[in-house]
């Protein structure tokens, strides 16, 4: 029960951050409220027992990706006046209606989840200590079953690095 309450609290924090990121006009504030969302999500990951992924979420998302966003906001000198205000009237209401309808469809589909059996009742309680989110089981699977995707991922990172530096150089031959 306590787990559920904690998940609800941090989930609401994450949702408020996301809503502010959508509503706020100043891009710096929008990025910073997305940082709040990421921190709330990291807390949710901790509650779900995935400590390693929660730490990665804080370091990579809140620490690296969103700071890069902030750098670009300052690099292109984006002020609140450059951002067009939210559309009014029919556009605003139809967008909200679409998002709400999507949420309704998803949550009505999700109620089927509550009928699922508890996996511990089906397969019995796990014999080993519950450790799935810590580093050893992740490393074991990552370097046995998923070695090739892991290596391909490093190539992808290099491609992204080279591509980004090619994109932003001043006089490229593109």
């Amino acid at each position: 029960m306590l787990t559920l309450i904690a998940l609800g609290v941090f989930g609401v924090i994450a949702l408020v951050g996301g809503a502010l990121a959508v509503i706020l006009r100043d891009p710096v504030y929008a990025v910073l409220s997305l940082v709040k969302t990421m921190l709330g999500l990291a807390a949710v990951y901790f509650i779900l027992g995935a400590e390693y992924i929660g730490a990665i979420q804080i370091i990579v998302y809140a620490g690296a990706i969103l700071v890069t966003f902030l750098f670009v906001v300052m690099l292109v000198n984006l002020s609140p006046e450059d951002i067009p205000p939210l559309p009014r009237g029919i556009k605003l209401y139809s967008a909200i209606a679409l998002a709400l309808a999507w949420m309704l469809v998803l949550s009505s589909a999700l109620t089927a989840i509550l009928d699922l059996p508890d996996p511990e009742e089906v397969r019995g309680a796990p014999t080993d200590q519950y450790l799935f989110g810590t580093l050893p089981p992740i490393g074991k699977v990552l370097f046995t079953a998923y070695t090739l995707p892991f290596e391909v991922l490093s190539v992808t990172l290099i491609v992204g690095l080279v591509g980004a530096s090619l994109l932003v150089q001043k006089r490229s031959e593109l």
Binding site: T3, L7, G8, G11, A14, G18, A19, A21, P27, L34, T37, M38, V44, L48, G49, A50, Y52, I53, I56, Q57, V60, Y61, I65, T68, F69, V72, L75, V76, D82, I83, P84, L86, P87, K91, I96, A99, W102, M103, S107, L110, L114, L116, P117, D118, P119, E120, F132, G133, I138, K140, V141, L153, T156, G160, L161, G163, A164, S165, L167, V168
Partner: protein
């Protein structure tokens, strides 16, 4: 108990995804669009982790790891494109981006 936890996490992910969708529909700016996409990616990651916890399997966490790395690459490429677009157009609203080649 675990089922309720799964349900709560998936509902939270659905809410985050809907917010990202709303931002994608409402904001007329390349940078804020990319921000909304990050929100939707995070909702997908949360789904992976919720099912990973439910089945007591570390595989879902590995997909989240891959997802975060790919989100980093996507953000870097997207921001590079944004800087480039800003240099040519002096503007990031995408209503007046009509030419593919400048």
């Amino acid at each position: 108990m675990k089922v309720e936890l799964l349900y709560a996490a998936l509902t939270l992910a659905a809410g985050l995804f809907s917010l990202g969708l709303l931002g994608l529909l409402l904001r007329r700016n390349l940078l804020l669009t990319l921000l909304s996409i990050e929100l939707m990616l995070n909702a997908a990651n949360l789904n992976f982790l919720a099912f990973s916890r439910y089945h007591n399997e570390p595989t879902g966490a590995i997909f989240v790891l891959f997802g975060i790395c790919l989100a980093a690459v996507e953000a870097v490429i997207g921001l590079g494109l944004i800087v480039r677009v800003f240099r040519t157009h002096r503007d990031l609203g995408y209503t007046n981006l009509s030419a593919l080649k400048w």
